[in-house]
Symmetry: C2
Subunit: 282 residues, 2 copies
C-alpha cells in the first residue's frame, strides 16, 4: 500500500454513526487487512511496533480508536455490544468488505462482538489476553488489576511494566524493551485518553464479565476460526478464561506463553507474529 | 546422517540394563536428536511418517521400543518411573549426551520422568496428549477409553480412527489419511505387542494417574522449556490436563488444536511439525 510504518503512518479520519473515527492504515496491501482492537484506556500508540510492523510486512494493518477514545470523537459506550457496533460501523465506513480481527483484553471482547454482529465481515479472529462473557474472575476488575491501576507511576507509562509483565527479571527486561518501542513514535502521536474513558470502559467490562446461566453459549455462534493467545500468569484476565474460550468456541486454537502476564504478545513479539501469521495464512 | 526415512530406517539394537532395545535413527545429523516416546500398546511403527519424516528434514529422529514392547526384550514395568529409568538407560546406551524428548500419551508421562531422573540429558520437552501425575480423570482409563479399547475393529488399526480423531467428518477424513501413512511401512515392520503389554501399561497408567495431595508439585522440578500440545476434545486424557501441565511447569508453552481428539498432532501434522520446530529451534 505505502512505505509507511507504525512510526510514520498518518492519522486519517472517517465518519460513521455520527462519530469521526481516527485510524491508521499501513503495510502490504492486496490481502485481507488485520484490524486491531485496543485494550483499556489505550490509543493507537499503545500497540507495539514490533507487532504492527511485524504483521505489516505481509499484510495491511489497520489501527483505530473506537468512539470516545483519544483522537476519535463521540462517547465511550458502557456496553461492549455498543463498542462492537461502533467497530463494525468503522470497518464498513473505511470500505473494507472482509477483514481479520485482532483484539487485546477489552479489545478481545469487542472482537467477539464484531464477529457476532457482522459474521460476514470477519474471516478469522485473534483473541489476545481476553475472555468470554461471564468468565472466571471477570465480574469486576481483578484484585491485581485494582492494585495496579490504583497505583501511580513515574513516568506514567511504566504502569505497563506492572500490568503486562511478570515480576521476573526476564519478563521485566522484555517489558523495558517494549516500553522503548512503545515510546518511539513522537510525531503525531495520539493524545492520551480523557478522564471520561476509564469509567465508561470499566462499566462495559463489568457488564460483560457478569456471570449468568449459560454465559458461554453465545460462543457457539462464532463460527470463524479463532486463535486465542495469553500469558501463563495473566493477572488482569486469568488464563483459564483463554482455556474456556478455546473449549467453547467451535473452531479455536489456543496458545499460552510461558512465564508471562497480560502482555505476553509484547514479551514474545517475534514468536507471536510468527504464530499469528501461520494461523492467518493457514 | 543417512538418506533413510521412516519407511527405510533399519531397526538397530543396543543393550542396557539387561534389555535389548530396538531403535531406529534417521534424519539430518549434527544437532540435538529428538527422541520419541510411544503411546499405550504402540510400537515404532505407530508414529506418523508425516511427523517423523517432517522432523527428520531438520534434525535427527530417534524412535525406540521401551522394555518389553514389540521388538525390544525385557518386561514392561508397572510404573512410569521404571519406564523412565529404562528410557534414560536406552538414550545413554545409544551414546547420546543430550537430546530433545517428545512423548505422546503414556509416552508423555515417560518423557516427564526422563527429565526428572536425568535433567542433564534433556534440553527441551514436547508433551503431546498427556497429563501430570494425578491429573483430572486420570485415576483410571476414562469411560471413553474403556469403551474404545473394549470394542473390536476390522481391520484392527481402525481403533485409532475412534481413539485419535473426533466423530466429525473433517477429523475422520484426517484419520483415514493418517491410517494410510501409518500402514505405509510394510518391510521390517515392528511386530504388534504381546498380550502382556496392555495390562502392565494400564497398571502403570493407573499408578501415575492416582490423585494425591500435591500431585502437581513435582512439575516445579522440570526446569526444561516444555511445549504442551493436545486436541480440544481429547477423550483419553482430558485437555484440562494439558492446561494443568502448562500452569504448573516452570517454563511451558501450551498449544491446543481445534476440533481434535487425542491424536491432534496426526490431524494437523504439518502445523504440528511447524509449531514444534519453532519451539525446538527458538
Amino acid at each position: 500500500m505505502t512505505a509507511h510504518t507504525h512510526q510514520t503512518a498518518p492519522t486519517q479520519f472517517v465518519e460513521a454513526k455520527g462519530i469521526r473515527f481516527a485510524y491508521r492504515r499501513f503495510g502490504k496491501a492486496g490481502g485481507l487487512p488485520l484490524v486491531f482492537n485496543m485494550h483499556f484506556t489505550g490509543t493507537m500508540d499503545h500497540w507495539d511496533p514490533a507487532l504492527t510492523d511485524g504483521f505489516a510486512k505481509d499484510r495491511e494493518v489497520v489501527l483505530f480508536n473506537n468512539a470516545g477514545v483519544s483522537s476519535s470523537s463521540g462517547d465511550v459506550p458502557t456496553t461492549v455490544e455498543d463498542m462492537g457496533a461502533n467497530a463494525v460501523a468503522f470497518i464498513k465506513a473505511v470500505g473494507l468488505p472482509k477483514v481479520d480481527v485482532l483484539g487485546f483484553s477489552i479489545g478481545g471482547f469487542v472482537a467477539q462482538e464484531i464477529a457476532l454482529q457482522a459474521p460476514g465481515l470477519v474471516r478469522k479472529l485473534v483473541l489476545v489476553g481476553t475472555g468470554p462473557r461471564g468468565g472466571q474472575g471477570m465480574a469486576n476488575l481483578t484484585p491485581e488489576a485494582q492494585r495496579i491501576f490504583g497505583a501511580t507511576y513515574d513516568p506514567p507509562d511504566e504502569i505497563w511494566l506492572a500490568g503486562f509483565f511478570t515480576p521476573s527479571e526476564a519478563s521485566q527486561a522484555a517489558g523495558r524493551e517494549f516500553l522503548k518501542r512503545f515510546r518511539l513514535r513522537v510525531k503525531n502521536r495520539d493524545p492520551e485518553v480523557s478522564e471520561k474513558v476509564a469509567p465508561a470502559q470499566i462499566e462495559a467490562i463489568i457488564n460483560w464479565g457478569a456471570q449468568r446461566d449459560g454465559s458461554y453459549d453465545y460462543l457457539k455462534g462464532i463460527r470463524q476460526p479463532a486463535l486465542v493467545v495469553n500469558g501463563s500468569d495473566d493477572v488482569f484476565i486469568y488464563p483459564v478464561n483463554s482455556f474456556i474460550l478455546q473449549q467453547n468456541l467451535p473452531n479455536a486454537q489456543l496458545i499460552l506463553y510461558p512465564e508471562s502476564n497480560h502482555g505476553s504478545q509484547y514479551q514474545y513479539p517475534k514468536l507471536f507474529v510468527q504464530h499469528v501469521s501461520i494461523f492467518l495464512d493457514g
